[in-house]
Symmetry: C3
Subunit: 136 residues, 3 copies
């Protein structure tokens, strides 16, 4: 069985944000066994899974991604949408645009320390749309 749902996330500031609760609040009851696929329909934001406890982890992600893909370098050619745009495209590929999470006994089968991240790579990204697909 396939259930699909569009999820609209409110605008977040640039950075990494835990959205597990926000996403699950918009989902129907989960099946006994299956997979939840979340797909972000944008090219300058990402979605991935990592540590859900210490807020400094989120800050360090932002710091390190900015160092890995620095802005304002002379070699960029796609610059018309602002200095944060092309780095955002590359960071989006590095973090990924989708996650697939096992569903077991009606719950996400995440590890104790895992949560879902929205990675907002634009300075003013605005609302972001996800497509959620449940397979069971």
């Amino acid at each position: 069985m396939i259930i699909q749902k569009e999820i609209i996330l409110p605008a977040f500031p640039r950075g990494f944000h835990l959205i597990t609760g926000l996403v699950m609040a918009q989902m129907p009851p989960l099946p006994e066994a299956g997979l939840l696929h979340l797909f972000i329909r944008h090219t300058s934001a990402g979605i991935c899974i990592n540590e859900n406890a210490d807020p400094t982890v989120l800050i360090d992600f932002e710091t390190v991604f900015n160092r890995m893909v620095p802005e304002g370098q002379p070699y960029y050619r796609h610059t018309i949408e602002g200095s944060d745009d092309m780095p955002a495209h590359i960071k989006s590929v590095l973090a990924g645009a989708e996650v697939t999470i096992p569903v077991t006994s009606g719950k996400l089968s995440l590890g104790t320390w895992q949560g879902i991240y929205l990675c907002e790579f634009r300075n003013h990204g605005g609302q972001r749309r996800l497509t959620a697909t449940l397979i069971s």
Copy 2:
């Protein structure tokens, strides 16, 4: 229902290439709701999703990936297949070897600006084989 199909991509030059049209031309009609999984059966190329409009984005991806994983460094030990080979393996992991895309109302549920990229990391990669799996 599961439908599987092998897709053979023609040889592309090194770089990032939009292949949405090429892939979809080889797919059967898409279901009302489901997922399309695309998997590249190689370790020195990747497949990912990003911006489908401005060709300079593709050029900047190539530039930045080359800077993130530079060739010809003294610390590489796997060098027998050429200086582009080991960096290609690492770039393949960074970009990813697979994408899963929601299918809604008989179409890929991509965002307006999203397209499927083949990331050819070898100088002479030749044809590349994908396995497409449709779940509905």
Copy 3:
């Protein structure tokens, strides 16, 4: 049909390790057509697909990931779990926490040179748990 199974991997030393055989030894017979989803329930290790033949490839992955996300930098704020911890979180996002592999004719449809990697990014990561989900 959905089949789910928890797989426990023994402790591996820090680095990249081929685990295709270990994983498949714990799986039931594979279906004629489907997908195998493997998900690692940790935030400081990863799972990805790459070259299965030359052991120096695994060494080069470790070298390059350490250079891309160096330890002990003054900009890290999440340092209480050791200098290898925060870099491990970031590497886990870069490598990914999951793979989905096509299953065809009762076998993983991997390319000739592809294998499944456990990416152990901690110095002492201990056992790692995977959730395997088979869809057919």
